[in-house]
Amino acid sequence: MNRLLPRALLAPAVVTLFLWMIVPLLMTIYFSLIRYNLLQPEISGFAGLENYQFFLTDPSFTAAVLNTLMLLGSVIVITVVGGVALALLIDEPFPGRSLVRILLISPFFVMPTVNALLWKHMMMNPIYGVLAQVWRFFGAQPVDWLTDVPLFSVIIMIAWQWLPFATLIFMTALQSMNREQLEAARMDGASYLQQLRYMVLPHLGRSIAVVVMIEMIFLMSVFAEIFTTTGGGPGDASTNVAFLIFKQALLNFDAGVASAGALFAVVLANIAAVFLIRMIGKNLD
C-alpha cells in the first residue's frame, strides 16, 4: 500500500514520457512498412521490407555508415585530447586568464550553420580564404579543402565547435583536483608526465566519460555543417547517415524509405552506445 502511493503519483509523468517516445517510434515503424512517397500518392499499400532493402542497397549507404563512424570517432578523439590539453594550460593562474577562458568558450555559442559558413567562406575558400592566403604566403599551392578533403574539413569544423565544450567540462573537473596530493607527488619526485598519468587522468575519467557520451549523442546526427558546406559531396565523400535520410525524406520525398533509414539510424546509435558504455563502464568504479 505504502509502495503504491508514490508509484501512483509518479505514473502520469512516466506514462507521458513513455508515450512521448513510443508514439513517434510506432508511427515511424508503420511508415517504414508502407509505400509512401509524397509525390506519388497513387502508389500505396503494404511494402513489406522493400523500403529497408532500398535504403540498405543505396550505393552511398556503406560510405555513409563509415563516414558517420569516422566523423564520430575523429571528433571525439580530437576534442578529448585537445580539451584536456587546453584545460591543463588554463588551469594554472596567469594574467588575463579569465579573458582567455571566455575566448576559448566562445565557439560553442556559434550556431552550427554559421560555423559552417564561416569556415567555408572565410577560412577554407581556395581563392580568398584565410588558409589559402597563408599557403600563398609560404609560396605553396592552396588546398581546395571542401573538394579534396571534404570529410576532414567537416571534422575540423565540428571539432572546433565542440572543443570548448570539452574544455569547459575538464576545466571545472580540474578545479576539484586535490592540490595537496599533487603537492605530495611532486615532493616524492614524480615527473609531470607521471603526475598526469597517475593523478590527473584518473581524476578526469568520469568527466571524459560524460564528454564522450554527450558528444556521441549529438554527433550521430550532424547535419547542418554538411548541408551548408559540401551537400554530402563530392560524390558521397561527406555523406553521413543523417544526410542520407534527409536526401530520402526531403529531396526524394519518400517518407517510407526515409522512415526505414531513421530506424536503421536508431539501431546504429544503440550499437555504438552499447560498445561505448562497456568501454567506459570499465573505467568507472
Binding site: 512517397n37 509524397l38 509525390l39 506519388q40 500518392p41 502508389i43 532500398f54 542497397t57 550505393p59 552511398s60 567555408k120 575558400n125 581556395p126 581563392i127 592552396p142 581546395d144 571542401l146 573538394t147 579534396d148 558546406t229 559540401t230 551537400g231 554530402g232 559531396g233 563530392p234 560524390g235 558521397d236 565523400a237 536526401k247 526531403l250 529531396l251 526524394n252 520525398f253 519518400d254
Partner: protein
C-alpha cells in the same frame, strides 16, 4: 432565456466581426531579389484591395521547395499562393493539385512569351502565372576578348569557347578562363550539364523511359566538361553554383560564364560589379545541335487546389504578374531592375531596352527554347534542363553528386556515369516504370 439572448448577441457580433475582417492570403515565395521587391511593393496592392491582407513566408529555394511540396502532397493547406517553378507546374497541374488560373481579359494572356506560357500550361490551361523567366546564355569579358583578338559572335560553339578560355586563363593574375556550375543538385550543376548534354545530342530517357546516362553523347559531354573546367576553371569549382560564381565574376575573376540570363542584370550593374562596363553577351554555346543548348526556367505563382480563397488569390496573382506591375517596378527602382522574361510588352518597351543591354540576347534565348522538343533523339518527357516527372529530383540529385565527384577528380567519368545510370534505374524501377 437570458442565456439565449446572450448567445444570439454573441453570434451576431461574431458574424459582424467576420464580415468586416479582411481575407488573409498566405504567400510562399523564394528569397531572391525580384521576389523581395514584390514584397516591398505589395502595400500598393493592399491599398487597392482593402479587403485583402497579405502574409509572406519567404524561404531559400531548396527549403521553399521542400515546404510547398510537403504541404501540397499532404494537403496541408498552409498556403493560398505558392511560388513554384517550371518543373513542378506540369506535374502538379496534371495531378490536380493546382487550380487553373482565370486571370481575366485585362491581364492579356497573349502578351506572355509563348515559351513561358507553354511551359506553365497543361492541356492548354494555364496553371501558374510567370513572375519572371529566364534562359541561359554566355556572358564574357569583352576587354579580354579584344586583348586576345577573339571574336565570339552571337552563336559561339563549345570549341570556340574552349580556345578562348585557353587564351585568357591566367591564374597568376587571378583570372580563370571559364566559370561553370559544379555544386551538386538537380537545379545546380545538373541544370547546366543537361543543356551541355542536349547540345551534344544526348537525352535523359529514351522513349521506353530507359535512362541514357552511359550513352556516347553523355560521355562526350561530361569528358568535355571535366576537362574544360579542370584546365581553365577556378579551383573549388565542385562547390560553385550561381551565387558563388556571381561573386567571382563580379570580382573580375572569370573570363566567361554560361548561366541564367538573370545574371546579366547583376554583372552589368556598376553598384555590385567591378567589370560592369566590360561584359558582353552571346547565346549559349552549341556542340552537335542547337536543340536544348539553353535552358528555360520560370518562377511562377500558383494557387493550390486546397485553398479556400481562390478568388482573392487570383486577384493578387493577376496584379503581381501584370504589365502594370512591371511598369511600377520600372518607375520606382529603374528599368534595369524589372522582372524580365515573361511578357512581350517588356521587350517592346524603349525605356527597358535603353536600361538593359542584355535584353535582345535574353529574349532570343527564351524564344529559342522549347520544353516539348529539346533533345535531338525523341524524348518522352517535357523540360529542357530537367525531365518533368516526379522521380527526376531524386535522380538529378544522385547524378549531380556523381558529376561533382568526377569534376573533383574523385572518380573517373566512366565510373561516375555508370553509378549515375544505376541510381537512375533504381529510382525508375521503384517508381514502377517497367511493369
Amino acid at each position: 432565456m437570458k442565456f439565449r439572448a446572450i448567445l444570439a448577441l454573441a453570434a451576431a457580433l461574431g458574424l459582424a466581426g467576420a464580415s468586416h475582417a479582411a481575407t488573409e492570403l498566405v504567400i510562399a515565395t523564394v528569397n531572391n531579389g525580384h521576389m523581395i521587391e514584390m514584397q516591398k511593393l505589395s502595400p500598393e496592392f493592399e491599398k487597392a484591395h482593402p479587403d485583402i491582407k497579405l502574409k509572406w513566408v519567404t524561404l531559400e529555394e531548396g527549403v521553399l521547395r521542400q515546404r510547398v511540396t510537403t504541404d501540397i502532397a499532404t494537403k496541408g493547406g498552409q498556403f493560398d499562393i505558392m511560388t513554384i517553378g517550371m518543373y513542378e507546374t506540369p506535374i502538379w497541374g496534371k495531378k490536380g493539385w493546382l487550380q487553373a488560373l482565370q486571370p481575366g481579359a485585362a491581364y492579356d494572356v497573349d502578351d506572355l512569351l509563348p515559351a513561358m506560357r507553354n511551359g506553365l500550361s497543361v492541356d492548354g490551361k494555364l496553371y501558374a502565372a510567370p513572375f519572371y523567366g529566364e534562359s541561359s546564355m554566355l556572358m564574357y569579358r569583352k576587354d579580354l576578348a579584344d586583348k586576345a583578338g577573339v571574336q565570339l559572335g552571337d552563336h559561339p560553339t563549345w570549341a570556340q569557347v574552349k580556345d578562348f578560355a585557353a587564351k585568357i586563363h591566367n591564374p597568376k593574375a587571378g583570372i580563370y578562363g571559364i566559370c561553370l556550375r559544379g555544386k551538386p543538385g538537380w537545379g545546380d550543376n545538373m541544370a547546366f550539364i543537361t543543356t551541355l548534354v542536349n547540345t551534344y545530342g544526348g537525352q535523359w530517357f529514351d522513349m521506353a523511359w530507359k535512362p541514357q546516362l552511359e550513352s556516347q553523347p553523355w560521355k562526350d559531354a561530361i569528358h568535355f566538361y571535366v576537362d574544360l573546367l579542370g584546365k581553365y576553371g577556378p579551383p573549388g569549382s565542385s562547390a560553385n553554383s550561381f551565387n558563388e560564381i556571381l561573386a567571382l565574376f563580379n570580382a573580375g575573376k572569370c573570363g566567361m560564364w554560361v548561366d541564367a540570363t538573370i545574371a546579366a542584370s547583376f554583372i552589368s550593374d556598376p553598384k555590385q560589379s567591378k567589370v560592369a562596363d566590360k561584359v558582353a553577351f552571346a547565346q549559349a554555346p552549341v556542340a552537335v545541335t542547337p536543340k536544348g543548348a539553353n535552358w528555360l526556367w520560370a518562377w511562377a505563382l500558383a494557387i493550390p487546389s486546397g485553398s479556400k480563397k481562390a478568388a482573392e488569390a487570383q486577384k493578387f496573382i493577376s496584379w503581381a504578374t501584370s504589365r502594370e506591375y512591371i511598369e511600377l517596378v520600372g518607375k520606382t527602382n529603374g528599368w534595369g531592375t524589372v522582372p524580365t522574361g515573361t511578357r512581350k510588352s517588356t521587350y517592346a518597351n524603349p525605356e527597358f531596352l535603353k536600361a538593359a543591354k542584355f535584353a535582345a540576347a535574353e529574349k532570343a534565348a527564351i524564344d529559342s527554347a522549347n520544353p516539348n522538343d529539346s533533345t535531338l533523339p525523341k524524348s518522352p518527357y517535357v523540360g529542357v534542363q530537367f525531365a518533368a516527372i516526379p522521380e527526376f529530383q531524386a535522380i538529378g540529385i544522385a547524378v549531380g553528386q556523381q558529376m561533382s565527384a568526377a569534376l573533383a577528380g574523385k572518380t573517373s567519368v566512366e565510373a561516375a556515369l555508370k553509378a549515375s545510370q544505376n541510381a537512375a534505374e533504381r529510382q525508375m524501377t521503384k517508381a514502377g516504370y517497367y511493369k
